[in-house]
Symmetry: C2
Amino acid sequence: MHGLHLTADLQGCPAAAPAMTDRQALRMLCLGAVQAAGLHAVGELFHGFAPQGVTGMVLLAESHVAVHTWPELGAVTLDVYVCNLGSDNSARAQRLLDSLLDAFQPTQVLRQQLLRGMPTEPT
Amino acid sequence: MHGLHLTADLQGCPAAAPAMTDRQALRMLCLGAVQAAGLHAVGELFHGFAPQGVTGMVLLAESHVAVHTWPELGAVTLDVYVCNLGSDNSARAQRLLDSLLDAFQPTQVLRQQLLRGMPTEPT
């Protein structure tokens, strides 16, 4: 299955940002960003860790989004994976990643990406 | 946050395998494989698509697992992402990916990996 997997690993994120520590704030951020990017949420899972840190996973019709926060370290990791079955969702994935990234206001970012699926597959 | 993200994109998976089409079968496979690998599930989300295909996401104390199936194409994608906060979970991640992969009996596999987190971060 051809697709694009974008990751961003963030440092220097202000721990006071609600989405760093609050499950509901992270949920609103993720679902809003998915919708604004033109992608389609079909399920969601948000979890708060003790003593701190939250994780959000949004299942998309186009694949998935995952966010993990470590407020005690000012760290966040972002994953946006879209399959390109039927249409090329690459630009939407980029838009979604950018909007999540902007919300955490990091001082340092490592972006990486994987092209998913084998070259021999039909497109 | 330092971590290891493993992916495998599978082709030629028999569509008759229960985990390709059945949400509960995929759930049992994923949760069993997580436990056998020595990792720790703290949340889960499994979704069946119409007319076919299932997705499973397991939130781990160590990060996450995601599985997407396309039985009509014999395709499956696997993600295992572990952060290495406190201990190196790389071998556990590899074991988990291998056991999921074996369950789908693909004829072709593309494996990739990303080292997550910035070199400048403290380990």
